[in-house]
Symmetry: C3
Subunit: 679 residues, 3 copies
Amino acid sequence: MTQPQKRLTYESVRMGVDYYPEHWEEALWEEDVSLMQKSGVAVVRIGEFAWSRMEPRDGEFDFGWLDRAIDLFGRYGIDVVIGTPTHTPPRWLTDKHPDVLPVFPDGSVYYPGVRGHRCFNSRSLRRYGERLIDKLAERYAGHPAVIGWQTDNEFSMLDSQSPQAAEDFRDWAYRKYGTLDNLNREWGTVVWSGEYSDWSEITPPLGGSPYQNPSFLLDFARFQWDTVADFQNGQIAAIRKHCPNHFITHNFHSYPQRLDLYKVGEALDFASFDYYPNTSPDKAATSPYSGALSLDVTRGVKRKNFWIMEQLSGSPGAWMPMWRMPQPGYIRAYAWQAIARGADTVVHFRWRSAPIGAEQFWHGLIDHSSVPGRRLAEFAQTSEEVRRLAPLLEGTAPEAQVAILMSHEQLEALRIQKQTDNFDYYENIKEYHRALTKLGIGCDVIDWRQPLEGYRVVIAPNLYLLDEEAAERLCRFAADGGTLLLTARTGVKNMNNVCVMRPLPGLLSDCAGVTVREYDPLGSDIVRLDTEEGGQFACSQWADILDPVEGERTEVLARYGGHVFFAGEAAVTRHEFGRGETYYLGTHPEEDYLRSLLLRIAMQRGLACAEGLPAGVQISVRGGDSGSYLFVLNLGREARKFRLGGIYAEAVRGEGLLSGERPGSELELPAYGVEIFRL
Amino acid sequence: MTQPQKRLTYESVRMGVDYYPEHWEEALWEEDVSLMQKSGVAVVRIGEFAWSRMEPRDGEFDFGWLDRAIDLFGRYGIDVVIGTPTHTPPRWLTDKHPDVLPVFPDGSVYYPGVRGHRCFNSRSLRRYGERLIDKLAERYAGHPAVIGWQTDNEFSMLDSQSPQAAEDFRDWAYRKYGTLDNLNREWGTVVWSGEYSDWSEITPPLGGSPYQNPSFLLDFARFQWDTVADFQNGQIAAIRKHCPNHFITHNFHSYPQRLDLYKVGEALDFASFDYYPNTSPDKAATSPYSGALSLDVTRGVKRKNFWIMEQLSGSPGAWMPMWRMPQPGYIRAYAWQAIARGADTVVHFRWRSAPIGAEQFWHGLIDHSSVPGRRLAEFAQTSEEVRRLAPLLEGTAPEAQVAILMSHEQLEALRIQKQTDNFDYYENIKEYHRALTKLGIGCDVIDWRQPLEGYRVVIAPNLYLLDEEAAERLCRFAADGGTLLLTARTGVKNMNNVCVMRPLPGLLSDCAGVTVREYDPLGSDIVRLDTEEGGQFACSQWADILDPVEGERTEVLARYGGHVFFAGEAAVTRHEFGRGETYYLGTHPEEDYLRSLLLRIAMQRGLACAEGLPAGVQISVRGGDSGSYLFVLNLGREARKFRLGGIYAEAVRGEGLLSGERPGSELELPAYGVEIFRL
Amino acid sequence: MTQPQKRLTYESVRMGVDYYPEHWEEALWEEDVSLMQKSGVAVVRIGEFAWSRMEPRDGEFDFGWLDRAIDLFGRYGIDVVIGTPTHTPPRWLTDKHPDVLPVFPDGSVYYPGVRGHRCFNSRSLRRYGERLIDKLAERYAGHPAVIGWQTDNEFSMLDSQSPQAAEDFRDWAYRKYGTLDNLNREWGTVVWSGEYSDWSEITPPLGGSPYQNPSFLLDFARFQWDTVADFQNGQIAAIRKHCPNHFITHNFHSYPQRLDLYKVGEALDFASFDYYPNTSPDKAATSPYSGALSLDVTRGVKRKNFWIMEQLSGSPGAWMPMWRMPQPGYIRAYAWQAIARGADTVVHFRWRSAPIGAEQFWHGLIDHSSVPGRRLAEFAQTSEEVRRLAPLLEGTAPEAQVAILMSHEQLEALRIQKQTDNFDYYENIKEYHRALTKLGIGCDVIDWRQPLEGYRVVIAPNLYLLDEEAAERLCRFAADGGTLLLTARTGVKNMNNVCVMRPLPGLLSDCAGVTVREYDPLGSDIVRLDTEEGGQFACSQWADILDPVEGERTEVLARYGGHVFFAGEAAVTRHEFGRGETYYLGTHPEEDYLRSLLLRIAMQRGLACAEGLPAGVQISVRGGDSGSYLFVLNLGREARKFRLGGIYAEAVRGEGLLSGERPGSELELPAYGVEIFRL
């Protein structure tokens, strides 16, 4: 291996696996690790569920087995990431300190038996968890094989309503609002006589009804985000004290998470993601695109490259019946997709399927039989390719001139009050992202609070909550020459989830150059959308009836058609604003329209794009000091033959870095085929 | 305004809005009220959720803001109805007296946060509620703007199983049955060893399983009806003590209610209804008819005209995603439909959409933006029309020669034991009512215990429970010359929900002139129905196999057809009984058959009807000392052109009172068009 | 009646009814019993819900009414079976000893009100129940009318999590594993830090999540099976003490039951079943076959003839809306189906529909009206036929050369971890059984632990859990000349629900002559199955990719086809093993394929079969010392005309024992027609 010294360990491009030494007879370990080495495993993650083995009884620590495992990896040149095991408190702890257990919104306790049975507000959990992490960090700070840490596992919103959570929420509210008068006013509790007359009356949303005061519910979500971030900060402090040179990451999963990724990501060195693209033929048309979005979202958490900490290795099955088994090429193609979109290290879950416990059918690279098979071979092939190209790829990262803004506050607020039956904030983001991806236009997906410098186009779907700061930043972006795209349900509320008493899109009306005269919540009903060029499309979800602001250069791009009472009214507009422009989409058009609109913008703004990509084919570019590389992936179930034109035409006449072959005028990729070209 | 003095204030025909002064900065009030006056608002309802503002702390009353609001309305000539705010007990009360909170059948508490968090059995709620109402009534008894009161808000069955509810149910049962022996015998508790050996064993239906003793479950429902009526009586007494000249009403909602409307309506001066006709295009074919039924049901509560206390003003959205926005004409047309069917005052919910709280998207006449728009303009136009026609309409009321009998005891008993998968008592009433409405035949919908004098035709679907008194009254109606229509599942049980040991239709066999030999619970299966004239229809739900009683003049009108084993057996019969007749429908035929049968009856009994009404078009007549008026409403989404024949032919050659125009030989109404003619 | 003395009372072939004297005025009894006698009732079951009448108050027993009822039956020559009433503890008992009540997995209590409100672990229930049974048994031991006992009623899994259940489970686990180290190792609790550090930490599956450790969950099910068996053993001991000559049975119901029938059946003299074949036309194609399976399953519980303790007499309706009424012939045909498959006594539920209680619409032979009708007449006709043929049928039993293995451990384990979305163990058994039944091949359905001697073919679907003993027995069966049929998901786990680390089908690989290279969990996706003869079929659920073991005589019978990556790979194989053969089906083929495969086997193994049976027509043979009888039943809704060939050709030229007629070359049966021939 010829890794340049300048790269930090976590910026290496390489492959790994998740391993659970505690699940296997120790006699099996070396055989496993030796085969890992042969298969190209460079990193393992271990330990994240092993509390009961690290501390079998209160204060009795046993790290002997862990020492032996880590030493073994070290001997075989495999780096180790340790997961802190707070996701699974042991029974002696929950028995001794039941406050460790979350309390569900219906008042029932989340008992041990599954996993994730830990209330982030529990003082016992923090005390015991940090004590163990302190010991771990102290012990492995200097171990040459250990390179970093994963906090807990797959954080998610638990809505724990334990007494401690209630108490902490009261404190949080007190710190935010200072007085009950402020709180009552900002939350609008006067409605339904909900005014609090004493701080003790403030509780989590008891009963768990989703139909409570939306200002209160949004703040309860924010409180939980702060709680998880604070819980993680305690762990991070314990690790950094001993291991200042180790990295710390967390493995996010299953987007959209209600938990604010950006808040939880703040203190991390980089983000990780657990990537399980759906293997069902029914999902074959959408799964490669929602997967692409998940990767872009993960990259956006820290606006830098990331890890895959768990990557699909076989059919998952545990909470749900088993999925289809990944077919040949699937494991390799999706590993390359992750790398193409900014993953550096890709760790596959898991080495071998577990014979015990509730995830027996969450298949690893090797089946229960322990006979190495097709999937391990494919992994080994991929590892070999990754190892070969790593020197080129290290230090490169995806580059984008387009950003989609993502906001967990919007997501949560629009979950609390679902606008119409098919209105879904994250699904809307998916559709914009998919339209870009099908056009071969790379984009970043970033927190809506991030600076926008460097982008030419910013797409900001459904900015339902808005404040002066955000509005001003977006206006400035457009005024300074950017293309800003806004959609229906923008500027509806202030940040306390209270409706604004001004025409929509509220604080962004000037920038958009339109006001919403009235609206019709279409839901699943379909309405015709007529473009000024004579095209007819479908739209649904919502219909803002737009009035261009008088005296402004606002152009109507599409109008409602058909039999609705607002037929002929403006639906989509473009406003020349300062040195830039703002598009406003008052409805949710079908993908064909989105694609044609985004293509028009791409042409006008000079964005690199690739018209005519076949279904399932995705391209990405990673660039850096070592050059730029074009990834071409066929994530579909059919072989595809196609041309890449424009700026990519020349690149694909060069040698394919994986196959070593030069394609002719047409690229031909089998199902799950991958090729990489120097750009 | 030229209102004759003879009319009570609540019999005025006029328009109003619901307003929440406590939701807005006081600075905004006068602007609002002034605009209300300009828009034709004659009445407002206020106060029904404002307990925490009227009594911010235990015993500390603050009516200053309410004084100022009511004074303001008075200054602008707008009458005020005050809602008692017991629907939303304040947090200090639930905190101090948790017995105020209902307990769900699964044992969980209904916490504050939504609304309706009050157990009607709670002594604290009654004590505190009546204390507040006493203060309110005393204070506003003499205020010239205040004309009446609404009790609580939208009563419904809560199935509260609080300890006090259990104790009260025990008492209720003791008062009804006297001894456990009686109770055990009447409820048939011997089944499954359910015999009570001590009064303390009597509880609400713990666990909430719907599969418990049906006699017990029906009595538990009756107990709840009595509880709500008693709860309301406490409020009424407090009001009447101070305000003998004010009216008292309650706003019913969302039929069918499990709560017995007639029981709760007893002590009211008149009934009110909250009317939200569904705006979805998917419901366009049925919504105008189920709406018409709701209005007729409300009129039947007191057998007199009523109010709409909340009328659709915009898309609702809170518990559910937002509905479609009412299209132009919708608000006006449905206001006129309400008046056509006996509403005098129509109060729109609400003035302006709330920027705060959980009902932010339950849209008012004015949007959050506070910019008056299309919907307010339509309301103002309607107000102007109503003001113009009020002198004609005041004192008139819908008149009917047909009655449909409705019974909450049947509804509840048939809910407890659903007969077949598509058997639904209220849906069956809907179908009879819709068939009449499509024929232009007006009808009353009245409590099945009401006297039947004055009707020519009485339709009594599914009189499942029966006693001698009811049977005797129905027999007498037919014997005295009326046309009585009975259906399957009549006379199955006594009033204790116990099956009778005699051939069906039990106590009504003689009157019906048939007995049920056996039956087949068809459910959703479709069976053919062959009329004696050779027509073929479909029927479902149920099939009674009928034996005409020997020696009686019982004519078979339709028989089962097709491949069922009872093909050829009698399904529908007509029995000449005394000076009248009894129809018995042993099955549930499709609407086409119902319409043809009802048309035949209408012809024979000389009922006014209007064959050939287009879909969505409804007619109604209001008559009184000032004359009779024919309302013609197009509640469909398409313009309609049609003739009205028979007794209406001449009327519609006269001047339309709304447009001032005379239609030609054909009436032409746009979508949501309305016209009124002198009859 | 000419019953030979050698038959035990419970081996008589005859008809009965279920009767509840306590539900009726005593004045009605004799009229009822007299009509029963006229209708051919030879047996009644009584008492199983009458605890509150037998012991109205703690320790106060009242058997007077029961004496009078039993005496009355005796006078009319009707035998009596007494049900122990522990299914419905009286209110005084649950009030005094709330530990009698089960606790649901969500922590809520199963209150009285329905039935079955008894925790099998409750010490109070056992104490009070056995005290009452002791009194009953002592009292009726010598009564000439009483012939036997039914324990409790319709045992099922309750998953009670009462404190006593938790304590008993701890003990059970201690007795099984001895040490926590053993238990932790065998259950694999190390996963997710689930290791128990103290016995007190062992609880039932709190929270009730189905996604817990599968080894633990399977043992909790086994614990419950043992609990119910033990609970029943207490009752049986109390009965046998006084009534050594009475039989004891239990009425099983609603297969598949999660409760282990074989475990609970061990201590019984024979099994009984409550048989309610679905009357819906929608189920007409499947219900006769799933009914046939239920009967064969019941016969397999004790591998001998059985009783029907409750047989459909009219539309059921209670938990669910009413079903369709059985059409003419239905009651008779299904009674004969039961007898054809090994029922001796058939007791119809119930004499008359109950006017009281929650099962009012579970119709008896007589309607509430008490007017005897069509259904009673059909019952009486059937009774008369049964009485006439009883001398021939008594002592005969169904004989089979094929066995399907059934296992409650597999059922439970595959319920705990559903393999794919349409993978269902019992449904799979149904499909094999239906294919056999459509071919006219009789089979036994027996516990998978039973000896296999005497069978030519053994079908063992989805033997997911396996141990050496079972594997060895199956291998021996094949090696000794049997035909063994195995399917996908065989040998996956050991008996502790832990996956085995060897190629599948694990311990049966040698016997099957194949190993599973890898698999694809197809779920509902359809894949093509190509036979070596060129046939094309569909398969789903699962796809094992099979490698014939080298050097073995393993023949590939079918391969996967179409576009899957494993097209061309072996799916179905046949292995010559010792003197026999093993078929392995790596997938779940459609029924057509199953039928063609089973027909091929039947031909090769010389099994009697009847190709070309029309849909709904079933044949069965009962044989014994008195000869062999062929039952031909048309359980379909259409009349059928068909030939029976092969070994049945001659029999059906003889006289039909029911009609006394000789059919021509073709048999002709009306809908629900039945005929019986001497073989």
